[in-house]
Structures are given as structure tokens and as C-alpha cells.
Point group: C2
Chain length 759, copies 2
């Protein structure tokens, strides 16, 4: 998983609140002043923190004769110096040699490889196997135009070359699509978002009983299928339009292997399950103790199939009906029409999906460095291991980085030079591509442990999808520590260095500046951070090096989830010397050191409060007038947010004054920071999604890739005029949000004065 | 609330597993051996702990020059010596001078009194007000026999004398009974349990459309109303039969004020709401942020009214129909008949209930002693403040004890002689009688704080309901520390001392021995421990001095919830010199000292594992054959329980070996113990009761007073043959239980090896 980034850029920056559009001037001015003040405060706090930290060494570690480092740059320099680009190149070559789809032999081979590497690096290894429901094609999936007499006019799939030559390369398919033979007319639905069906209705086109042809892009493919089914479609064809996946907009006609652009044969595989985790064991870990559903699975109800734009061209050009809206046109040299029906009215589209669900063993592999002083506090660094095919970008570029960071840190520990204050846990997840399955099952099994002990989670799904700049999704608590890490890492791009931008941070800020810091986005459910954040409340960040998403208006890196994600692609088109892999490894190393070694956790709570305040302002802007009419307590959101900000300010004051020689006083403050994100979870979950528990952010209900703020509320408000009965739930949930914020503020107060009499 | 103890004795001892009946001999032998071995181990561990603790002093406290006591008996002796029986007598006289029902003026007066006392004792005071829905009679509730022409043959209520003379004494009523005028025939339903309706059906008697006359006793009154409504009754009369509330069985005809037995005029007030907390804000704290329901309240649907046995006599003796089963007869000198219908067939029963729900302010008051080393760890000691009338037993005897313990400890702190390692929080709850409202709202508001920081909760609803022996309800983790406390407290009964029983423990064990320790029972929802245990996972104990429940086969102390719960009752019949109050205060003081001052928390996890193993054996005995047929994984319960026991053994080994000079290592072990109970909560709650979250114990679904083991499962299995569709939920929930136990075991493991590959 893990793409569609620029979509985030355009919308979730707003939602996370770091950009406000359509703002009215006076309100805007206040917000900007507030931001400026808060950033000033944040910088002051960071300075304060580092000043404090360099002064203070845990006396307990002294007494143990340990090598506890706090604010010691020596270890940081040793980590940076030890990161070896050549090793990562060799690791990536090895990882991407064979296809390694989850649940099959080579996935198990790579699990052993990861275990061996962790062991060689001196890490303590643990594994968690699960038996989960996966999905593979059982026969040959086909997409055909057929004449009335059954003659096959056109046969669309199996265009990718390796599919026909290598039995271990899985043909294009949508995991968890039900099997089925569907015949019918085709309707072109653009990107297939809810609003696209509204446009279609304006043309008088109804998809009921038809197969929809939908472009990849903008939203998560599983949501496209769910939306199609909810509108009555009987099948889905999904293709990658050249406008979104080639150099078409840039006027570059070349494709892979000459460039990193998509050839007409490429079809994006992927899961179409909207839920997360094993679909037969929602809420339970899929081990031998699990009850397994045989019906009511969280999987789609209509068949769907991905195709290349070569195939889509052959279908689209035969389509009759009204000409599609201009904005629906793509990069194919045809007139895009809506259908339903073909120019030859006797033709039909025949979609045959052979996928079957099957129980397979998957495995997570963990490499653990035990902390010296607080082994019961975990800093997690994870990457998934399974790929649709060779996976040289997704996920193996990330795996190469993770293994390298584990090697470097493991060897430092083995040499006796260093051991972190807290434990560091490297996580190699299984079956992420099918729906974050390995990570979700693990969280379901160990949430009682993680909720109490997990400090933070760093996710690197894929490490390098370009060589322009870093891009990050993050919870607000992680922002400052992330920025600081990036300021420490030398710029891997000589041209950028020549232009005066010495660090990863400098280029990042240069390419996407936003209110004096680099732009970031919120976390959706595009990768394994989702269960950690949503079910265990672990504050998280997702990192990669990327193409310039302002320069290329594409929906993801073009070859995403095709057989063209090869070692050669990475080597020839993205990272010849693996310096970008090295840069990501160094950023992760810095992050891990900061999170695992700082005496006081390096979280900036002021940024969190600022983020909350801006989320509130966004809610006010987008839904305030409507909510204020129905909710007589709507303005209390501003009050509780203000109180929360005051609680944060008081906390930060106490943090500055803490006697750092008192181990238990420091631990108590750290516990308050560690548990803050957790305080935003509601045990009963969101009203329409009980397994999503964070009331402030989750993925967007109509696009699993994208983040959403106040997700339970926004989801209820979506098209609420058609569902007025939801207002009661809106009122209840709004009240739950107010009380959650109030309660979270209470967790930050002086521990013997945590009760507030009233607002 | 808070009575019906001997019912617990007869059933929940089994459920908590400290007695096994109907056992087969070989299995029994194994269990007995296991118990013996575990008790041996437990004793060894206790010895080990005390040995460890006296050796070890937290170096941090030394370095602070604090007066931290660990295993120092001097503070314990000072607390015992300072407990002043005369002060408690005076306090109780003051507290019980006027009626102090929740939500009315004198409740607020007593809240101020408690605040003042806490402040005088040097405690830090916090309060949490809530606006909640309470229920009072708006006019005169009446129960009448009327002739066909409307003539009143008999008028039953307002028998208690003070009701007619003092406007501040609330007439007998059932809180949250809806108002309504009901006329009809009467059916006598015995205790009104589910099984009693089965017996009635055997007589061909259907209660549909009739008013049921039900005896108090055996189960919670709210459940009696709910069960009656579910069988079609239109109203409920509830009376206290002499067999259950007088000296009738003992052949003693005297009543209050000559003895502590119930006069015919006494009617037991009480709530009939089955849920807990403000019925208009389930799941939310009832503050200004709460959404308030106006329908779907968690309150009864049919009117009900309590009456005395004087009134019941006049109704029962007029009843026609079949003679009731012998076991349904009580202490009235009549032939008990079932009805429906009266001897004079033109008569009808007319029940008029005038109660109305009304929003009132209630308040919890907290007095806090800040801990020296771990102020962010709370040992809670709570008692409710509101009473139905004078409340000299329930709850003011408990309030007198709590205020005295707070005074003694507060003065020790003020004198500079002592400050506890952890914080101690004294809690004075509001509106407990209406349904644990103050405590539930508080937990709903601060669960994020309590889940992480609350070490344990000691509840004293009423302190003295007799002078024979202590009685306790407790979670298994609390048992050992409770027994140890009771061994330190001198016996308040000179006759017992003369008989060689020197301590509170000695008499308790003498009166109710059970497997080498005093008998205890599990926690239902009879008092404020319920929300703390069920929603925040705080391990809890409920204490009182009691009559001998083997000698008196009564359903509660007789005058429970009547106007006869006066200071004179306590003084003249239970505790002339307040030595039993003093004994309870000393036990609580010892408990608080042990929980708040021990370097390592004094929880015996082996007892917990033993308790779990015996709960499993009880489930096996009661439901094993049936479950084994339907659940192919039933035997895995034995496996996970065994693994949990092994995890506990490993934990205890690590605890013995911990370097107690390392503050953070000690804290980590304490965190594991603190969080163990919490690991047994499922965020989604029990299948049929989402606000009850503990999968191992909760109150019995058909009797809110009584505890139940594996409550979600047992509730689903109740009459499952009539609901076969529940089996799917049974399977899912059983799986959740297995995974919860496994996951709880993981929380106890070495923190860097918490994952188990498979069972």
C-alpha cells in the first residue's frame, strides 16, 4: 500500500491544519499570529529541552556504570558514519530477486533472511505467526469484449510480460475481490468518488446492473469498489490513466524500462478490502485462539479487476453514450464517453474473476535492542516485508533501510559503546499489502502491552520513490523531533548542496515550505502505522524520499504495484549510489536516537495543542455554521480546546522545572507524554467504525489513504441531509469529543490536581 | 446500596472459586493439591516480600531526606493508636442527625462538612460536581385495595412514623420507577427471580396484565422489576417478609427500637435502575459537556413501590388462587396464595406512583495526600455520602470511618513524621443510592487517568452492620494484603479475645473458614467499586463489620434503607463503644499503608492465577459439557490459564530478584502489577453489556448485587436453548476471553520477551 501522496497534500494539510485556505482575513490574522507565537514557543521549548538534556544525566545510569547518552552527539555521528549505502544496495538486490507475495514460499524465505540479519546484528529476535485469510487468483482472470455469438473481440489481461513467463509472478488482480463471471454494459465513472456518481446522475446515467470502468487515483481503490457497489454496479474494472501514471503531462512519451513511467501493459495490483487486518477475525488476533467468521467478512461484494491503460484504451474507444465531462478526460488519445453501451450495440463486457480466499501462515519478525534504563518503554521502527511482485520499491527499499539501521545500532551495542535508554524494536510486518494484516493482528494481540509502553512508531513502508525530497505523514507530537532529525542529516543531492541546502531538512523545506516548516500530512490508513495509532494510540510518523509532487501531478509513483518495481528501476532511475536510501536511514537513526535516548521524551506538546486548535478552526470553517444550528454546545469545542492548550502550557512549565536527578519524577512526566495520544482514543470507537478509536484523526471514511480530522464527526456529517436521523449520533459523538479533549487535558495536569470543577 | 451478603456467600464463593461442590474425586484431589501448593507458594512469597521490603529502602527517598517507610511498623502502630472511637461516634451522630438524600440541601451540607474535615486534616481538596437525573416522589405514592365502587378497603403506605411528621423524610419509594396509576389483580411471585416465574408457569399462573407482589431478598430489587416487566406484569409491590428481615427464624418477636429487627411499618427504599450512573448520560460524564438523552433511558418501564410486611399481610391474606409452594412461604401468619385475584372477587389493587425524574446537582469530594516518591500512583479509599434517610448505617458509619482515617493520616503528614510513597485519595461519593452515580460519572470523566495510575480501591459503603465478624468482597489480587492487614488489627470483641482470637483476622477465620483463609466473595455492583473495577480495571475490596451471616439467615441487616437506620440503632444494638468502627478504621489504615508505602506493590499474583484457575474449573463444572459440544476450542481455556499461571510464576521469580536500589526497575515491576487487572478489560465491553468491560468478573446479569465469573459468557448461556442464535456470539466471546488471558499473561513477561509464538 502506501501511495497517492499528492492527494494528501492538497487536502489533509488543511485538515491537519497546517494550511488554511478560503480564510477570512481577520480570523486568518489571529490564526497566523497564534501560529507564529506557538512556533516561537516551540523553538524556545526545544532549545530549553536540549539545554536541560545536556545538563542532566540520569543518576541511576551513572550508578550502573552504563553508557547512557543524553544529548550526546557522538553516538549520532557514529550511526551516521556507519550507514553503508553499498550494503543497502546489495540487500535490496537480494530482497527483490524473486517475487515475495505474502503467504507464499519466498515470503517465508525473506522472513528467515530478516531473522538472520537481526541475529547477526546482535538483536533479540521474536516472531509472531498468524493464520490469516489471504486471496489469490485460482485461475486466469479475464476481461473481454464479446460479441453476441460469444466471439471474443478483445482479451485484455496478462499483458505484463513476466506474468506469462514466470509462474511466481502473480497476474494482475484485486485481493479479496470475490470470484465471479459478470457480463454487461460498461459505464465510465472517472475516479469513481462519491461526487463522480453525483455528476453521472446529472447526465442521467445510472450504473445499476453495469460494470463500471474507473480510473485509479485520488482515493483508495477499495473505496472505489465499495462506492461502485453501493450505487448498484455489478463489477469494476480499474485502470491507470496515462495522465496520472506516465510522463504524459510532462510531454514525455517514454516508459519503463527507459524511464520510471508506466507502460500500457502495467496493471496496479492491490487489496480492495476496506477494513484492516484478517477479514475473518476482526477485533481478534488470528492465532489458534481466534474465532473465525465464515460469513459477514469485511470484504467486497462485487468482482473487480485491475487492467493497464493499453487494455482500457481498447474498451474506452468502443464506448458509446454521452461525452464525459472535460475534467474526466485523461491521457488516452480518444474521446472519453460515459456509456453505458458500446458503439457496436451487440457487444458486451465479460469480466471473469477467479480469486479465492485461502488461509495462509504469515509472520511478523521483531529485532529488539533492550533498553538500559527503561527497557519497558519501546520505540518501534517498522516496515512490511511482503510485496505484490519483486517489490524493489514497495516495500523492499524500506526493508533495506531498516536492516541497515538495525545492523548499525546492533553493532554499536555489541561493541559495548552504547545501549539506548529505552528499548528499540525493529518490526518486519507480514501481509501488509492485503490490508495491514500482520501489524493489525499484532496490535490486536498485544494492545494491552503497547498501549502502556509504546513511545512512538516510525514507519518506512517504501524508503525511496524518488530523489527530490523527503515527504512525511505524522501525528503532531512527532513533528518537532522529525524536523530536528532531518536538520542533522546531510543532503544526499550534490546539486542541492551546491545550492546551499546542506541538509535533508533544507531541501524538504525548500520544496514544500509551509508556515516556516516543511509541509507534512496526517496519517490515513495507507500503511502499518494505522493499527498502531488507531488501536493502541501510538504516536507515529511515515517517511520516504519522494519525487517532487508539485512538479509531477501524478497519483503515485507510476509503477506502483506492478512487475516493473524492480531493482533495476531503483538503481537506474531513482538512486544509483543508494545515497537517498542512506539519507532515509540516517533520518530514521536520528529519530530513533532522539526518541530512545532522551531523558525527557522529545515531544513538543505545544505543537500538539496548536494542531488541535487548528483542527478545530478547520472544523469551524467546514462545518461550523451547520453544526452551530443543531448543536447548542458547539462553542464549547473552542472552550475545551483553549483549556487543553492551557493544560499543555502548565505541563511544559513543570517539564522545564523538573529535577532531572529524580528518576521517578522524570518517569512520571514521560508517562504523561507517552499516554497523551492514548487519551484521545474512545474505547467504544467511532460511531460508524468501532475499530477506529482516535476521535481526533483517522483515515477518511471515503478514502482510506487520506487522513481526516474529527473523523467520526466528519463521517456522520457526510451527506447528512439525506440521513437526518444521524443528528442524534452527531450530538452524542460531539459530546464524546468534548469530554475526550477535557479528559486528555486532565492527564497532563499536576497528578494530584487533575480534576477541574467545571469548564 | 450494598447488602444481601449471605446470598453472595452461598453462590459467589463458588464462582470466585474458593469452594468447589459436586466435585468428582480425582479432579478434586488435583485441585486441592494445587490449592495447597499455591497457598504454600503464596505464604512463601509473602514472607519473601516482607523480607525483601524490610531490607530495601528506596535510595531516591533517602537522597531526598524523606521519611519514607517501607515495612516500618512504627507508622502502622501510630495510625492504630491514633484511631479514636469517640470521635467516630461524634461524627456519626452529626452525620445522621438529619436525612441526607442525594441532590437535596442536607446532602450539600454534608459535602461541606466533609470538605471542611479534609481541610482540617491537611488534605488537598478537590470536588467534582455533576448534574444528574435523580428521582423523587412528587406526591403521595399509594397502595390500596379498592372495591368495585371505588371504596378504599385498605390503604397501605405511609406507615413509617417520621414520614408523616417530618417533611425531609422521604416516603417509601423506588427511585426511577415511572409514575403511573395501575389497577389490577395481584400475583404473588415469591422472590421474583427468573426461576420463580418458571415455577409459577407450572401452576398455570401468568402475570401478564397483573401487579406482582414480590418479596425482597436473594437478588437486586431492580432486577426483580426488570424480570417482572419482561413477564408482562404491569406493576410491582415489593415487601420485606419477616422470615428475611426479622428475628422470626430465631424466635425473637421483638422489633426496633427494642432490637435491630424490622417492624411491620418499615419499607425498604432503593433504586430500581439496573444500569449504573446517570441514566441520561450513559458512557459520558454528566457535566456541561454531556449530551443528555431524553428517551431510551436506562430506567424501568413499569411502576413499582416498596411496602412493609404489615401492609403485605393485609394484601396477602386477601389473596385467592392456589396455595404457594412451601418454599415460598415466609414469616407471616397466613397461608401464602399465588393469586391472581382476591377472596372478594370485586376488589382490585390500586397502585399509584407519583415519582418524577429531575435534574439535580450532586458532588464528589476528594481529600488527597500527595505521595512523596510516586505522587502519580493513587491508592483510593471511598465511601458514599448520600443516604435514603438518616443513614446511620448506610453509609454514614462508613463516612465516620473514612473521615477518621483521613484525620489520622493527615495529622501524621502535617506533623512531618510521615508521607506515603504513593498518593492516597479519600473519595466521598454522591448519589450512590440512586445507582452508583457519583462514582460512575467520575470514572467516566477520568478513566484515562485512573486506568494508568490507580493502584487499588478500598470501598467502605457502610462500616458496621453487626459486631460478629469482618466480611469482605474482593478481587483476588487484594486478598493477601487484606488478610495481612486484618492480622495486624486487635480484635474489638473482648469475648473473642478471651477465647484466644486476638485479631480481626482470627475471628473472621473462625466464623467463616474456607481453605485455610477466611471466606470472601466476588464483587457485584452493590457499591461504588463497580465502575472502578469494570471501567477502569482498578483492583478493589469492599469491607464492613457484620452480623454472623451463618447464624442469621436474613437477606440483609433488617432495617436497611428505612427510617430506622438511626444513630440510636447503631449505638444501642451494634457498637456501643464504637470499637467495631475503630476496628474497620484500623483495617483500612493498615491496607492503605501497605498499598501506598510498600516499595513493591503487595499484590500476590499467585493468588490471582489460582483464582483464575478455579474460575475455570467452576466454568468447566457448570457449563463444560454444553460448551465442549459447541466449541471445539473449549479445552484451550485450560491451556491459556496454565500458561498464565506460568507467566505469573516467572514474574514472581523476577520480582524476588529485582535490584531494589534501582528505582526504575522497581517502577517497571510495579507497573506490570498495577496494569494486570486492566489487561482483563475488553474495550468493546461484554457482548450484552458494553459498559461492563472485565471479562473475568462482573455482576451477575440477573442479580446486580452478586458477582459472576466469565460474566459475558454466563449471561449468554443463560437459557440459551431458547436463544440458539446466541451461539455465534458465545464462540466469538469465548475467543475474546482466551485472547484476553493470553494477552494479560504477556503483560507480565520480561518486557523485551513478551511475545509468545503460539500456545
Amino acid at each position: 500500500m502506501g501511495s497517492l501522496d499528492q492527494v494528501h497534500m492538497s487536502r489533509t494539510n488543511q485538515e491537519l491544519g497546517f494550511k488554511l485556505q478560503n480564510r477570512r482575513s481577520s480570523f486568518c490574522l489571529a490564526v497566523v499570529l497564534f501560529i507564529a507565537a506557538a512556533i516561537g514557543l516551540a523553538v524556545g521549548l526545544l532549545l530549553g529541552r536540549f539545554a536541560l538534556c545536556t545538563e542532566s544525566v540520569d543518576p541511576a545510569s551513572k550508578s550502573r556504570g552504563g553508557l547512557q547518552q543524553v544529548g550526546n552527539t557522538s553516538i549520532s555521528q557514529q550511526v551516521m558514519a556507519a550507514v553503508d549505502a553499498g550494503r543497502m544496495e546489495e540487500t535490496l538486490r537480494q530482497l527483490s530477486l524473486k517475487p515475495h507475495i505474502a503467504g507464499q514460499e519466498n515470503d517465508a524465505v525473506l522472513a528467515r533472511l530478516v531473522k538472520d540479519r537481526f541475529r547477526q546484528s546482535g538483536l533479540h529476535v521474536q516472531t509472531t505467526p498468524y493464520d490469516v485469510l489471504l486471496s489469490y487468483p485460482a485461475g486466469t482472470n479475464s476481461v473481454r469484449l464479446v460479441a453476441a455469438d460469444g466471439t471474443i473481440i478483445y482479451d485484455a489481461v496478462r499483458d505484463e510480460s513476466d506474468v506469462t513467463t514466470r509462474p511466481d509472478v502473480v497476474q494482475p488482480f484485486h485481493a479479496y475481490s470475490p470470484s465471479g463471471l459478470v457480463e454487461g454494459q460498461v459505464v465510465y465513472v472517472g475516479y469513481g468518488r462519491v461526487e463522480d456518481y453525483t455528476v453521472l446522475a446529472g447526465y442521467g446515467v445510472d450504473v445499476t446492473g453495469h460494470v463500471v470502468l474507473v480510473k485509479y487515483g485520488k482515493i483508495f481503490r477499495g473505496d472505489k469498489v465499495e462506492i461502485a457497489a453501493s450505487h448498484g454496479a455489478v463489477g469494476v474494472l480499474m485502470y491507470t490513466d496515462p495522465a496520472d501514471y506516465t510522463g504524459w503531462r510532462a510531454g514525455d512519451p517514454r516508459v519503463y524500462p527507459d524511464t520510471w513511467w508506466m507502460p500500457p501493459t502495467g496493471a496496479q495490483r492491490g487489496t480492495v478490502m476496506s477494513g484492516q487486518g484478517d477479514p475473518s477475525t476482526p477485533g481478534l488476533a488470528a492465532n489458534n485462539l481466534a474465532y473465525r467468521r465464515t460469513d459477514n467478512l469485511t470484504t467486497p461484494t462485487i468482482p473487480s479487476q485491475p487492467i493497464g491503460y493499453g487494455a482500457a484504451y481498447n474498451i474506452l474507444k468502443q464506448l458509446s453514450g454521452a461525452v464525459a465531462p472535460t475534467t474526466w478526460s485523461g491521457g488516452l488519445n480518444i474521446t472519453y464517453r460515459l456509456g453505458p453501451g458500446f458503439l457496436n450495440s451487440t457487444w458486451k463486457l465479460q469480466l471473469n474473476v477467479t480469486n479465492t480466499n485461502t488461509r495462509r501462515k504469515i509472520e511478523n519478525v521483531f529485532g529488539i535492542i533492550e533498553g538500559e534504563e527503561e527497557p519497558d518503554r519501546y520505540v518501534l521502527f517498522g516496515n512490511h516485508r511482503d510485496a505484490w511482485i519483486y517489490g524493489a520499491i514497495d516495500p523492499s527499499s524500506g526493508t533495506a533501510v531498516m536492516l541497515e539501521v538495525a545492523r548499525v545500532m546492533g553493532e554499536l551495542v555489541q561493541s559495548g559503546k552504547w545501549r539506548p535508554r529505552r528499548s528499540i524494536v525493529f518490526c518486519s510486518w507480514g501481509a501488509e499489502e492485503f490490508g495491514l494484516i500482520g501489524s493489525t493482528e499484532w496490535v490486536e494481540q498485544y494492545v494491552a502491552v503497547l498501549r502502556e509502553r509504546a513511545v512512538a512508531y516510525i514507519n518506512v513502508d517504501l524508503a525511496v520513490q524518488g530523489n527530490d525530497t523527503l515527504r512525511a505523514l505524522a501525528t503532531p507530537l512527532m513533528l518537532d523531533v522529525l524536523f530536528e532529525a532531518c536538520k542533522q542529516v546531510p543532503n544526499p543531492d550534490p546539486a542541492e548542496v551546491a545550492a546551499g541546502r546542506q541538509t535533508v531538512y533544507d531541501t524538504w523545506y525548500h520544496v514544500t515550505p509551509h508556515n516556516d516548516v516543511p509541509a507534512t500530512s496526517g496519517l490515513g490508513s495507507g500503511s502499518d502505522y494505522a493499527p498502531l495509532l488507531q488501536q493502541a494510540g501510538v504516536t507515529s510518523v511515515d517517511l520516504r524520499y519522494s519525487y517532487d509532487r508539485k512538479k509531477y501531478d501524478i497519483s503515485s509513483y507510476a509503477l506502483y504495484h506492478t512487475e516493473y518495481e524492480t531493482f533495476q528501476l531503483v538503481k537506474n532511475h531513482f538512486d544509483r549510489d543508494f545515497q537517498y536510501h542512506a539519507a532515509v536511514a540516517k533520518v530514521c537513526g536520528e529519530l530513533l536516537l532522539s526518541l530512545a535516548d532522551s531523558l525527557l521524551l522529545p515531544f513538543n506538546l505545544t505543537t500538539f495543542a496548536l494542531g488541535l486548535e487548528l483542527l478545530r478552526a478547520t472544523l469551524e470553517r467546514d462545518h461550523g455554521p451547520k453544526l452551530r444550528v443543531k448543536l447548542d454546545n458547539f462553542d464549547l469545542l473552542a472552550s475545551v480546546t483553549k483549556n487543553f492548550t492551557a493544560d499543555v502550557a502548565n505541563f511544559e512549565s513543570r517539564r522545564r522545572l523538573v529535577d532531572t536527578s529524580r528518576a521517578l519524577a522524570v518517569r512520571a512526566l514521560n508517562d504523561q507524554m507517552l499516554l497523551l495520544e492514548k487519551a484521545f482514543l474512545r474505547p467504544e470507537g467511532l460511531p460508524l467504525r468501532p475499530l477506529k478509536k482516535h476521535v481526533i484523526y483517522a483515515e477518511n471514511a471515503n478514502d482510506g489513504y487520506a487522513g481526516s480530522s474529527f473523523p467520526g464527526l466528519v463521517e456522520l456529517l457526510f451527506q447528512i441531509d439525506e440521513h437526518p436521523e444521524r443528528w442524534t449520533t452527531v450530538k452524542q459523538h460531539f459530546s464524546a469529543i468534548l469530554q475526550t479533549i477535557q479528559s486528555a487535558g486532565a492527564t497532563l495536569r499536576d497528578v494530584t490536581s487533575f480534576m477541574s470543577e467545571s469548564l
